[in-house]
């Protein structure tokens, strides 16, 4: 197992900094997700690690060895491309064997290794097929087997599941994760799908405009976003701005919000983020939650029905809150219903604006 260190990486395209002083340490056997909007630098970082983009400043080390002067084919990496980039003129066997074949491995050893790898991705029996004769999920698995068969030190995945439909993507997520655990390889993957990042990663780095906004375990990054951007990009968030008063934050057009986070001195302007699923909605007179909530009165402006869950837009003062609810009642609250909303102070997360 290997480590990858990115130290102060800078990459500019003209005036635009695709990577702006990025430093991340990828640990041994870690499954690390890079997430961010397009153009945020996540793919550039992946390509820099692979050796397809030269850094303008900073350094990349694999197992503590700087690799800046090594071309991609000497970096001992495995990579799965967005559209798999399977060789169309070669069979499944030849595709997977490619990395061994260019290394001049003997035929017998090659057959054994490729066979074992195809077993691992459950594609035994498909050796003689051409990539075009496979489904999207099967192509994805061939690409994975091809990248892993040389036992590279690092596995790089560029939006590996982006081309698959939703159900297949969920299946492949589980499979990808279990194969990665079995092989135990340090894996760095790029995605713009927040759910995928949360499901797969041991740790996540959120990118914005070439900078790393936040690094941490999925639960940590999701529950404790440190900036408004992180809160809004990974998941949804209701954002509030106001000035600190004793015991809370005074939000214009709403009232006082309490937070469990330590607040700065009174008078300081701060932002608070509240996840839509942390907000409870109840109709006055029916069951009232007893806990000590941030509590407001509002009116349902719109309800979006999505089968398993409901999304409410609720007018509270001059604010429009987004609230997610499990679809327990089977009947969404009609538009115009007067409701109460509330959430625990611990769910008002202090974020940088």
């Amino acid at each position: 197992m290997s480590t990858v260190d990115v130290i102060g990486a800078v990459k500019r395209y003209g005036r635009v900094a695709a990577l702006d002083e990025v430093s991340i340490r990828f640990g041994e056997g870690e499954f690390f997700g890079l997430i961010g909007p397009s153009g945020s630098g996540k793919t550039t970082l992946l390509r820099a690690i692979a050796g397809f983009a030269d850094l303008d400043a900073g350094e990349i080390r694999i197992d503590k060895q700087p690799v800046g002067d090594r071309p991609p084919h000497k970096r001992d990496i495995g990579m799965v491309f967005q559209n798999y980039a399977l060789f169309p003129h070669l069979t499944v066997f030849e595709n997977v064997a490619f990395g061994l074949s260019v290394r001049g491995r003997p035929k017998e050893a090659m057959r054994k290794d490729v066979g074992a790898m195809l077993d691992l991705v459950r594609l035994s029996g498909f050796e003689a097929r051409k990539p075009r004769q496979l489904s999207g999920g099967q192509q994805q698995r061939v690409a994975l087997a091809r990248a892993l068969v040389t036992r590279p030190r690092v596995l790089l995945l560029d939006e590996p599941l982006g081309a698959l439909d939703k159900r297949l993507r969920q299946e492949m997520q589980i499979e990808l994760r279990s194969i990665q655990r079995e092989v135990g390889i340090t894996t760095i993957f790029v995605t713009h799908d927040q759910e995928e990042a949360l499901t797969l990663s041991d740790r996540i780095a959120i990118f914005n405009e070439g900078k790393v906004v936040q690094i941490g375990a999925p639960g940590e990054v999701y529950e404790r976003p440190r900036s408004a951007f992180a809160a809004g990009f990974l998941g949804d968030a209701n954002l509030f701005q106001g000035a600190v008063l004793d015991g809370g934050v005074e939000i214009g057009g709403l009232g006082t919000l309490r937070s469990a986070d330590p607040l700065p001195a009174a008078g300081t302007h701060v932002s608070l983020a509240v996840r839509p699923e942390k907000i409870q909605v109840w109709v006055e007179g029916l069951a009232t939650p007893g806990a000590d909530l941030n509590r407001f009165k509002g009116r349902v402006q719109r309800a979006v029905y999505a089968g398993t869950n409901l999304t409410y837009k609720i007018e509270v003062g001059t604010h429009l809150l987004t609230v997610f609810e499990q679809n327990r009642a089977a009947h969404p609250l009609p538009t115009g219903t007067a409701v109460n909303v509330g959430w625990l102070p611990v769910h008002s997360v202090l974020v940088a604006a």
Partner: protein, 260 residues
């Protein structure tokens, strides 16, 4: 109504094929006719093929044509493929302009290109001769080769070569084991174009051929002006058979490396 539509399409197709192949069929048929004046009825004979075997002029012209076309195919395909790769994979100063300048030679009449080449070649001292003809043919074929191979390359992008690199293939290995096989259908099609452009070339060859040297199209043209014998039909028949054979062979080969 449906039935009528299908029959109309079939009729149309039949007419189209008739239009394309009837003149050729008549020419081939008359190559086997004994009469030098194209008299009917056809009297079956191979006399024109026999006399062709003794017509040194025509045979020499034919060999010139084939030799030129093969040399042109090899040179233009190699140069054009390299250029197409450079266009598709690298960015450099003036690339857009260079790419744009590829198209005009395709639309400029060959007569004008031929005249300008003749003037230019004399001006810089290349003069006339097989070497000048080859130079002219290569220059004419290059845009076709670059476009055909380029279209194939653009269809794939550089992801395949990058994939090969991550798997440990050196640029050299990646080229021979991935890039070339994948673009092979394009290269084969381009080489056919290059062959056809040269083999079919009249104007440039006519202008740049020195006295006593000629190619098949030039010789056929000269023969027609003199009032020609069915020997021309005979050699044309041989050419048609060879080129159709080649086409069929390539059509089969085209699948190798392809996606279909």
């Amino acid at each position: 109504m449906r039935g009528f539509g299908i029959w109309a399409i079939r009729l149309y197709l039949a007419l189209l094929l008739l239009f394309l192949y009837l003149p050729i069929a008549v020419m081939v048929l008359l190559a086997f006719n004994q009469s030098p004046l194209y008299e009917l009825p056809i009297v079956w004979d191979t006399v024109w093929f026999q006399s062709l075997a003794h017509n040194d002029r025509l045979i020499r012209a034919g060999l010139n044509s084939v030799g030129l076309a093969l040399a042109n195919t090899a040179i233009a395909t190699a140069l054009g493929t390299m250029t197409a790769i450079a266009f598709a994979r690298y960015s450099f100063r003036g690339k857009a302009l260079l790419e744009l300048l590829l198209f005009p030679p395709i639309t400029i009449p060959w007569l004008i290109i031929g005249t300008s080449m003749l003037i230019f070649f004399f001006w810089i001292g290349i003069g006339r001769g097989l070497h000048a003809m080859l130079l002219g043919h290569v220059a004419l074929s290059l845009p076709y080769v670059i476009m055909v191979v380029g279209a194939r390359l653009k269809g794939h992008g550089s992801a395949l070569e990058e994939a090969a690199a991550t798997l440990g293939a050196s640029p050299w290995q990646a080229f021979w084991r991935v890039s070339l096989p994948v673009m092979a259908p394009g290269v084969v099609a381009a080489s056919l174009f290059a062959f056809a452009v040269s083999f079919d070339q009249f104007v440039i060859s006519y202008f740049l051929a020195p006295p006593g040297v000629s190619t098949l199209p030039v010789e056929i043209y000269a023969a027609i002006r003199k009032g020609f014998t069915p020997e021309i039909n005979a050699i044309s028949t041989i050419i048609i058979l060879v080129s159709m054979g080649l086409m069929l062979l390539f059509a089969r080969l085209y699948r190798f490396g392809g996606e279909r």
